[in-house]
Symmetry: C3
Subunit: 138 residues, 3 copies
């Protein structure tokens, strides 16, 4: 069992950051060859998933999330706190904060086009986001 | 490896129950200091996720789920079984039944505002829901 | 720790395949009695979740996914690559590629109606899909 922290800084709401290289490095640092790596983003307005890291698809994903939580809806969270990020919380809860990926020969067993990404969903840009990375195996 | 069962009783469709205290207790009972805790809800009309446990956000999340599976849509499941919970199954499958959270010093490594919640999605209220809690580490 | 590969071939876009029997077999082959099984689909246009494997519900789930990513929307991915599967990527990223299920007495601790399924989301039919199955425990 090996644990490390990955930190990334997002630029704006909707920013999608490819964290696959940082995860690969963490797995190498762990010296684990066979097992799993678990990732967990420690924030309620960010999320983790996998996707082909191609600009068109990323745009399409953002539009789909806006169907669920439109920019111009009336958010109860906003009415209460006036912080404008009701949509961010909703999207993050639906996508989820964690993902687990299998490992073999000290590397991720992802598909060819499958990248692990952090979704910055908050309306407040330029935030540092913390991802807890736990490698389990031998 | 330590396993225990968490049981909660929901009040109504759309009930969102903060199970973070029960999970923290399970982790303490396990005596695991460093590792992960995996949670799995054993039902097809309930789901697990993380969210800021603030009433406004919870309302907003419920509305977003209703975009995906509106109350008044024609559900093929309902036409077949007449049990009225087609929307419950759909929401549960999209949010998902499981979540994994990292541990350090015998506690959850969640963010400050990040609570682990059970979503009661069934139209039949007052159900006991079973969550299998597995703690892995040392 | 035991790892195996499950391969299934889908028939068409929207195909939902019950992979519970294959996972149960993998768990038996592992000889693990108590622990967890992690599943990861190695593709960016397929996903894993749990659902009651009843034809009506499966139809309802497909319709809900089409709310998020309608067939007739203009996809930036399509404009760039002309491969017509923008909606497939979006749905897959939102449902997610992985799921973890607890084990006891060498069997899955799922609910009675809770099956583990692969969602074929690509517009190109008849594809072989690879799921990495990792069993952890003792």
């Amino acid at each position: 069992m090996f644990r490390t922290i990955i930190r990334v800084t997002s630029k704006c709401e909707g920013d999608i950051i490819n964290i696959t290289p940082e995860i690969k490095k963490a797995v190498r640092d762990s010296n684990v060859q066979e097992g799993i790596v678990h990732l967990f983003v420690q924030h309620s307005t960010a999320a983790l998933t996998t996707i082909e890291f191609e600009p068109g698809v990323l745009t399409d994903l953002k539009r789909a999330l806006s169907v669920l939580a439109p920019d111009d809806a009336d958010y109860a969270h906003h009415i209460r706190w006036n912080d404008g990020n009701g949509r961010s919380h909703v999207k993050a809860a639906l996508v989820g904060p964690s993902i687990t990926v299998p490992l073999a020969n000290g590397d991720l067993l992802c598909g060819t086009w499958q990248q692990i990404v952090l979704l910055e969903l908050d309306v407040n840009a330029g935030r540092e986001r913390t991802i807890i990375c736990t490698v389990i195996g031998n």
